[in-house]
Structures are given as structure tokens and as C-alpha cells.
């Protein structure tokens, strides 16, 4: 494909997407979209009836507990289950040998030379890896059984540091792969070397983004249950079942029509239950072994050390090239990602980084060199931001450093480099498209909500008069939304399965009484507001009250094509699906009413749950009357129309193109681009390292807002998680690969005391390519907060040479920097 044909495809896709999303005739005043609405999900949650996986009561249910590896790297020598099996109530003991004999490796988007089973086969590769499952009548007895197991390991040298893992003499995690380098690729877009040669200023940094995780308060769990006709039913709180049901079936050696996933609500995910495969695959496998229903719900220790999704653990050498007036001209990123022992997700999290590689800034030269390394740690996967939030932090760290070197205020250097409103749709180096934006409007709004001049004076005054250290941080970052699946495979020249679909579906039914049901097709509730969004869109389209709409979730046997929540896609996608179904249903309603009333269909409209003649609202029918006709009076329907009042619609990704075969252009894969500006004022105590919030402003642009109060919840919730990533949370391993974060006393989730009171603002720049102009906003504050905290801490302790390069930045890191600086000052004085 030449670049011309790439451009043609690009322009065609753009035109089609814009046409599909164009509002039909003028700006319509909306009644529900954009109004803060109480969530329809809440009453059941407030009364403790969320229906979580551990709440499921199934007759004859048995329970599994897991024996986890105590060593980082070793061979399994023997497993003696005699004592465990002797315990009354213990039903069975299942090992990796059973898995090898009876199943295929688990689903895997990485190389096939890195296979994974839900229970370790031959070797263990990290502390906490599942080795043996014990099934018993109760969880207590299953844990008794685990305690009674006698498992012997032959220890192998642990591989903990990713750079040492790449050395020639490092022990191999996967002998069949032949190297601990799971994957390497370099992309160069534009004239990077020339940009750096021409630059007046090059800033560089060595940065480490530490390992954290979504860490929802509910762990991952699943129930496997042998059902009728040889169908294995799996109840699970893992998201995106429509992507993984057939992969789990393949792993279990069952035809895909003999596995049904029943989606169960999740008590939070944040990526951690995104296509989480280990738990549902294991529960299904265990149920098949004992031919009884088996529940396996991770306890917190399981989840901390053996989940599907620890998050990014990245080491960067990163450089930014600028001209002397502060114009950014190029970026060069060399990243080593410590993936842990398996490569479940491939390197899609770096595709995410490339979707917004230049941030909100107007430059065209970008190099990205990735090495994905295998070490003796838990595998890595998704966490709110999916790797793009890490890149945001790196870019903002470099921009701040450049601003300091050039003597520019953080808002000045950013404003100078913003992509301007008239430049949209804007193609960035690499090929992704930014649909729309007004970054100065977001910055201006944020600046209007905080008195920066006051804080800058206060900073000086408090330092001079009270010996207190105040820091101000400001970042402007992107929040890409609505992924297309190409980012999972464009890394490979010959991908095994170059998927291009990421649809979402909805079914709207008006029952014979005129009541609304909506069926969603790819997940259950996971903490966001899928039902409220669906109810609001139905309300907007039909004029029915949102709380009158009932929302249900399909199991995988009934589900239409879907992808589920992830990458801030769901609100955009499900709105497209529901609106598509609504248009079909509206057409049928109007045809029935027009036929009944003998009025031309084009003269009719649907308002307030009625179909009526435009300009003569007294001539019309209630939707209940239309529904009765549709279900019970076939002879009154227009000729050829079939009974019933139900429509479904599958909404494909609104705008995506293929990457070029040579990967000089990765195509459009994440085009619905949100933006935000966060400003933080913090006090840092140089003697204790304690940080205190003085002010916090967050302004986001997620296009047309559906429900302001829930969007605000994403911003505050994401910000809190960003605080955790930046200051507190660390999944740590020692030099032997022992896991050091096995309780919530070690892995510190922020409490209310660590979170700032936030002032929120919104700017609405609608997307030209989505229904109503909505953009995703689910990842919220976590896209920006680590950067703004790093900047504020640097600013507070600049006189000590504080420069945040490692996250989380802990009080001990701050104190060490201060002590070293004071020591140096002392030496200089003497």
C-alpha cells in the first residue's frame, strides 16, 4: 500500500464516520443527555443486593482454594496430596499435570512460545503462581486441604531485574522461547534524528514507573457449573466475555457452543477484570474435573500476587527536542517494560501510548523503542489508562524539565505547543487521529478556577516567613477513548489474528404493555453506569422516564457482537448501539401508528412516550397502544409487517483504518480524544517527606457530557488512583523475587485522608464522529495526576534538587534527597 492509498483510506474513513454521526437536521435540544441523573443501578447496591460473585448461591456448590508457589523460580519436584485428601469434606486435588493432560494453554495475545496454564506445569515462575487447587465442601475445608499439601520445589535462579534478565547468563523463564526478551520493536515516525540535531535544547530523563494495579475491593472470582446438554456454565465477574468465551472454550477443549458465560456484576475493575482469564478458566476446568459446581474466588493474597493484571512496570530513557522559544520538535522514547512471567496481553499497552504519543502538542517526530522483558513476577495487564497514562507522565516530566531550563512557566510552554482547534481532525505521527479538541479552552478554564498568582506569592512568602515548602504543578494530558483492536497486533509484521472488530450491541424491547426493556450484550455492571447511560439514551429517544426502563444483560449464548468496557469506550459505543436500535424501533412505531391513524408516516413524531401528528399532538397513540397492536393485532399492522416491537443494533467502531503493511503508518485506532488540565498545590515537609494538599483543580473535556455527576465521579475516582500510583502503591519484589506487598498494610490504597478536595470543571468539545458527540471519560484523573504530583513535589523542593524520576515517590525518597542535598551544602560551606 502506498502512502497515497493510505491517505485515501484515511480520508474515506473520516468522511464516512462524520456522515454517520451527523445530527439529522439542526441542533436538537436534549431533555436527558447532559443532565445529572441519579443512577438506576444504585438502589440494589445501597441495600446490599449487588449480586456479586461471592453472593451467588448455587445448590451443591463446592469451593476451591489454591496452593501458591512460595518460590520465584523453580521446578515442581513432587506434590503429595495424601493428607489433604484424607480430610473429610475435601473432594479433589487438581494440579498442573491435570491441566497438561486435559486442556490447551490459556488464551494469550503474546507469542505461542510463552504458554500459560491456570495451574503451573513443570515450573513455577513467580511467587504466588497457582500450583495446586483443592476442592472441598466449604472454603474453610479447601484451605485446610491446601495447608495439608506437601509440595517440593527445586529452586532456580530468580530473574528479578529486567535489565539483568536480558544478560546472556540470565536464567530463562521460558526455555521454549529461548530468551527473556519477549518482544522488541522500534517505530520511527517523521525525521527524529534530524529534529534532535537541529534542536536548540534537548532534555532527557531516566524514569521508572513502578508496578501498581487496579486493585478493586472485590477480587476476581468465578463459578464453573456443569449444565444441560454438556454445556459448561461459567459465572464470572471478568469483563469482555464476548472476546474470551471462545478462547476459554478452546483452552478447555470444548466446542464454543458448549460454554456459556453468565456475566456477574463486578465490585470494581479498573482494568483488573478486563479479559481476566485465569479465574474463569480455572473454575470451569475444576468443575469439569469433579462434575459439580465449583466456586473459586480469589482472596486478597491471591489477587495481590496472582491476578491477571499487575500494571505497567516501565523503565525509560526519554528525550525531548525543542527550539529556543520552547517549541517541541521531537521525542525519542526507549522503554523496557518488566512484563513479569507471561505475556497475556502482548504489548497492546504500548499501542495505547502511541495513540497519543505527542500528547496535546503539535510536533511530528517520534521514535518509540520497546523491549518487553520476562521476569519472575506476576503477569502484567490492564489498569485504567492501559499504558497511555504512563506515557503521559513521561511526556509531562520532559515538558516540565524543558520549561525549567527555558525559564518558562508550565502553562506558557504548554500553551505554546498546543494543537489548535482549527487543526482538527489532526493526524499525529504514527497515524492515529485526534477527532476534535480545544486545549486552550481547557487550560483557561482550569486557570480561572485557581488563583495561581496568589499561590505563587504564597509559595514565596511561606518559604521566607514560615520555612514551609509549597509546590505547584500543572499538566495538560490526553485521554484517548474507543479503541479499535488493531493496536493489539500492528506490532507484529505477520500477526496471527489481525482482528479489526470492536463492536457493541443493544436490543430494545417495548413489551405488550408499552414498558421498555434494554438488553446489553457484553458484560454485567462493573462499577460504572451502563444501565443509567442506556436508560438515558432510551429516555432521550422515546421521551419515557429513565427509571421506567429496565436493563438486563445477555449471557454469552444470547449475546450479540460486543467488546465490553475498556479503554473508555463503553458510553460512546453503547450509545451508538442503543441509538441505532432506537431508530429502527421508531420507524416501526411510526409505521404502525401512521397505518392505524391513516396519516402519512412523515407527518408523525415520537414525543413523551407518544407517537403523534406533528403540530397536532392530540392526534396520536401512546406507545402502549402501538405495542398492543404490534403484539396482539397482526391484522391491524401494515401489510408485510411482522408482530412484536423489538429491535437490535450492532454499532461498529465509528472510525478506524488498517495500518500500512510496512507499519510506517499505524492507521487510525484510537481517535476519540479527550483532554484535561490538572493543577495541584501541595505542601511538602522536607524533614518527614509528608505531602499535604492545598488546592486541586481538574478540568476535563470528554465531548458531549451524558451525565455530569457520573463523569465527575470518574475524574475524582481516577485522580484518587493517580494519587495512589504516584505516592503510595507499589507491588514490590525483593532481590530474590519474594513478594513484599501481600496485604493492604503493605500495598497502600489511598484512604480519604490522602485525597485532595477537588474542584472540577468541564469543557465540551463534541466529537464529530460519535452519536451526540460523546467522548469517553472513564479513565478520568489517572491520566494526569501522577504528572501533576511529580511536578508539584519537584517545585516544592527545587532548592534541594528534587526531581521525581521513580513512582511511587515515597516519603523516604523525599527525605533521602533532602538529606543528600543538605550534606552537599554542608560540604560546600566547609
Amino acid at each position: 500500500m502506498t502512502s497515497d492509498t493510505t491517505n485515501d483510506a484515511f480520508n474515506d474513513a473520516l468522511a464516512r464516520a462524520a456522515e454517520a454521526a451527523a445530527p439529522s437536521g439542526g441542533q436538537v435540544k436534549r431533555k436527558y443527555i447532559g443532565r445529572s441523573m441519579k443512577r438506576v443501578e444504585d438502589p440494589r447496591l445501597l441495600t446490599g443486593r449487588g449480586g456479586f460473585i461471592a453472593d451467588q448461591k448455587i445448590a451443591g456448590l463446592t469451593h476451591a482454594a489454591i496452593f501458591r508457589s512460595p518460590v520465584a523460580h523453580g521446578r515442581i519436584v513432587s506434590i503429595d496430596a495424601t493428607a489433604a485428601l484424607a480430610i473429610p469434606g475435601v473432594i479433589a486435588v487438581v494440579t498442573g499435570e491435570d491441566c497438561r493432560a486435559k486442556m490447551n494453554p490459556c488464551m494469550n495475545f503474546g507469542p505461542s512460545t510463552i504458554p500459560q496454564y491456570p495451574l503451573a506445569v513443570d515450573k513455577v515462575r513467580y511467587v504466588g503462581e497457582a500450583v495446586v487447587a483443592v476442592i472441598a465442601d466449604t472454603r474453610y475445608l479447601a484451605e485446610d486441604g491446601v495447608d495439608a499439601l506437601d509440595v517440593e520445589f527445586e529452586e532456580l535462579p530468580p530473574v528479578v531485574n529486567p535489565f539483568k534478565a536480558l544478560e546472556a547468563d540470565a536464567a530463562l523463564l521460558h526455555e521454549g522461547h529461548g530468551s527473556n526478551l519477549a518482544y522488541e520493536r522500534s517505530f520511527t515516525f517523521g525525521e527524529v534524528d534530524e529534529a534532535f540535531e537541529r534542536a536548540d535544547l534537548v532534555v532527557s530523563d531516566t524514569l521508572h514507573w513502578g508496578r501498581s494495579a487496579g486493585m478493586p475491593l472485590e477480587t476476581t472470582g468465578a463459578i464453573g457449573k456443569p449444565g444441560l446438554n454438556g454445556v459448561l456454565e461459567i459465572y464470572c465477574n471478568s469483563m469482555n466475555f464476548s472476546y474470551f468465551v471462545w478462547l476459554i472454550a478452546t483452552a478447555l477443549k470444548l466446542p464454543s457452543n458448549r460454554v456459556t458465560i453468565n456475566p456477574v456484576p463486578a465490585g470494581g475493575s479498573f482494568g483488573s477484570k478486563f479479559t481476566a482469564h485465569k479465574v474463569p478458566t480455572l473454575a470451569g476446568f475444576l468443575a469439569l474435573q469433579v462434575n459439580r459446581p465449583v466456586s473459586y474466588v480469589e482472596d486478597r493474597l491471591d489477587h495481590l500476587m496472582n491476578s491477571d493484571h499487575h500494571a505497567s512496570d516501565r523503565y525509560y530513557e526519554a528525550k525531548l527536542a525543542l527550539t529556543c522559544d520552547g517549541t517541541i520538535v521531537g521525542m525519542d522514547v526507549d522503554v523496557v517494560d518488566d512484563y513479569g512471567a507471561y505475556l497475556q496481553f502482548g504489548v497492546g499497552t504500548h499501542g495505547n501510548a502511541l495513540s497519543q504519543g505527542v500528547g496535546p502538542y503539535n510536533f511530528n517526530n517520534l521514535r518509540y523503542h520497546l523491549r518487553a522483558v520476562l521476569t519472575n513476577k506476576c503477569q502484567q495487564g490492564a489498569y485504567r489508562g492501559f499504558g497511555s497514562e504512563v506515557h503521559n507522565w513521561v511526556l509531562e516530566r520532559l515538558v516540565d524539565q524543558a520549561a525549567e531550563k527555558l525559564g518558562m512557566a508550565p502553562e506558557v510552554i504548554r500553551r505554546k505547543n498546543f494543537i489548535q482547534p482549527e487543526q482538527f481532525p489532526h493526524k499525529i505521527p504514527g497515524g492515529n487521529l485526534y477527532d476534535s479538541g480545544d486545549y486552550e479552552a481547557v487550560l483557561d478554564k482550569a486557570l480561572s478556577m485557581i488563583d495561581l498568582e496568589h499561590w505563587r506569592k504564597e509559595k514565596k512568602r511561606l518559604r521566607e516567613e514560615e520555612n514551609r515548602y509549597i509546590g505547584i504543578g500543572l499538566v495538560t494530558t490526553q485521554e484517548r477513548s474507543v479503541f479499535s483492536s488493531t493496536e493489539f497486533w500492528y506490532w507484529f509484521d505477520e500477526p496471527a489474528f489481525p482482528i479489526t472488530s470492536s463492536p457493541e450491541s443493544a436490543t430494545i424491547t417495548i413489551d405488550p404493555s408499552g414498558e421498555f426493556q434494554v438488553l446489553l450484550h457484553s458484560q454485567a455492571m462493573w462499577g460504572n453506569s451502563p444501565e443509567t447511560v442506556a436508560a438515558m439514551v432510551v429516555a432521550e429517544e422515546f421521551g419515557v422516564e429513565p427509571d421506567k426502563v429496565n436493563i438486563r444483560y445477555a449471557d454469552s449464548a444470547h449475546a450479540l457482537p460486543g467488546t465490553g468496557p475498556g479503554g473508555s469506550r463503553f458510553t460512546v459505543m453503547v450509545t451508538g448501539a442503543i441509538r441505532g436500535a432506537a431508530k429502527k424501533l421508531q420507524k416501526k412505531i411510526i409505521e404502525i401508528a401512521a397505518h392505524t391513524l391513516e396519516v402519512p408516516p412523515e407527518d408523525m413524531e415520537i414525543t413523551d412516550a407518544r407517537v403523534q401528528v406533528k403540530g397536532a399532538p392530540e392526534v396520536g397513540l401512546s406507545l402502549g397502544e402501538v405495542a398492543a397492536t404490534a403484539y396482539f393485532f397482526a391484522l391491524n399492522l401494515p401489510p408485510g409487517m411482522t408482530s412484536g416491537l423489538e429491535e437490535q443494533h450492532t454499532y461498529d467502531h465509528p472510525l478506524t483504518t488498517l495500518p500500512s503493511p510496512d507499519r510506517s503508518d499505524l492507521g487510525i485506532f484510537y481517535p476519540i480524544m479527550g483532554h484535561n488540565c490538572h493543577i495541584a498545590v501541595m505542601e511538602v515537609d522536607p524533614d518527614t517527606g509528608m505531602t499535604t494538599w492545598l488546592d486541586y483543580v481538574a478540568v476535563h473535556d470528554a465531548g458531549t457530557i451524558v451525565n455530569p455527576i457520573t463523569l465527575g465521579g470518574h475524574v475524582t475516582g481516577g485522580t484518587a488512583q493517580g494519587v495512589g500510583t504516584a505516592l503510595l502503591e507499589e507491588l514490590a519484589y525483593d532481590e530474590d523475587g519474594q513478594f513484599k506487598s501481600s496485604t493492604f498494610l503493605d500495598y497502600l490504597i489511598p484512604t480519604a485522608n490522602e485525597i485532595p478536595a477537588m474542584k472540577l470543571g468541564h469543557v465540551e468539545t463534541p466529537s464529530p464522529y460519535t452519536e451526540y458527540g460523546i467522548k469517553g471519560g472513564g479513565e478520568g484523573g489517572r491520566m494526569a495526576t501522577p504528572g501533576v504530583i511529580s511536578a508539584a513535589i519537584d517545585d516544592a523542593l527545587r532548592e534541594f534538587g528534587m526531581h521525581v524520576q521513580n513512582l511511587p515517590v515515597k516519603p523516604s525518597d523525599i527525605v533521602a534527597t533532602v538529606l543528600a542535598a543538605r550534606e552537599q551544602q554542608k560540604e560546600q560551606r566547609s
Binding site: 441495600t47 446490599g48 443486593r49 478493586p216 475491593l217 472485590e218 465521579g713 493492604f744 477537588m758
Partner: protein, 191 residues
Amino acid sequence: MTIQTQGGVDPTLQRTITARVNGRDVSGVVDTRTTLADWLRDELDLVSVHLGCEHGVCGCCTILLDGQSVRACLMLAAQVNGRDVETVESLSSDQTKLHPIQEAFQEEHGLQCGFCTPAMVLRTKEILADGRERTDEEVRQDISGILCRCTGYQNIINSVQCAARKLRAGSPAPIAAGTGTGGSSDQNPGA
């Protein structure tokens, strides 16, 4: 605590207990090692008692014991013999008729996934029992023993303040600590 033993039952393994749970007396034989949380969830179907960490940090299993919040994962069922236990079902288990505290959480969007929510609602009931007005900073401190991973706490603080206003404006029922059923008309703790 009075220990009642049954004929033939080893008291080191099992105990018979009677407790007042959500305003009703409940009796049962429990294994001595059964945690209070597991007993409430598994035997009484009070699945609002959520298990987030089972080591006493997250607070999702918070219940009110004689009106005071405790972690149900850190207590044994045998320890509540003769005592008063409240779970969120004691406020209202009728989804069409929420208690004012539950209403406040819905109105202020004080929950997302709902996993910490029953604990936060019960803690709110406990701290508002004195009827005193609080600053946002005091509320922040008061709820800091329960983790929430979704909201960033801001809307929970708003919910607590909203609930306080609602209760001051005209409580539908006294919510003094330890009254068992709170404002609920539902006397069935297991429903």
C-alpha cells in the same frame, strides 16, 4: 460472654449462639472458627457484608455491633452471642423505599461499584447518631477507616453531609445507635 454448650458438642469446635440481628433474635450453632462475616453471609444470607481483604484493612465488611462499627472479618461469630448486630439491610432492604442515608448516597453519587457502600452507609449512620454538624474535613477523617476504590471519596463526603441534612430536617425514625431496625419498616433481616 456466656458459653452455652450442647450435649455432645465439643465447645472448642462449636458453640450455640443467640444474637439480635437487624432487630430479630437469631440462634444457631456455629463452628468456633467461623468468622462473623462468613456467618452473616453464609448462614443468614446477609450478603451486604462484603469481604474485600479479610485482614481488617479495607473495611468493606463493617457492621454495627451494639451500635459501633467493627470489621466482621476480624471477629468470630461466637463472639456476638448476646449482642446486637446491624447490617445495611437494617436501614432498608426495600429498593423502592430507601432510608434517608441511602437516598443521600444515591443523590450525591456516593457510590460506583457498590462494594464498599454498605460499610460506608453503616459508618454514616454511626457517625451521624449524635446529630452534630461536621465540617467536610471531619467527615473525611470519620470515613477514613473504610477504603473506596471508585469515588475518590469526594462524593461520599457529600453524601454524608446530605444525609446529615436530611436527618436533621426530619428524621422518619430515630437512628440512635443500637436500635436495630433504624428507619426500616422491614423486620426481616434475611430478606
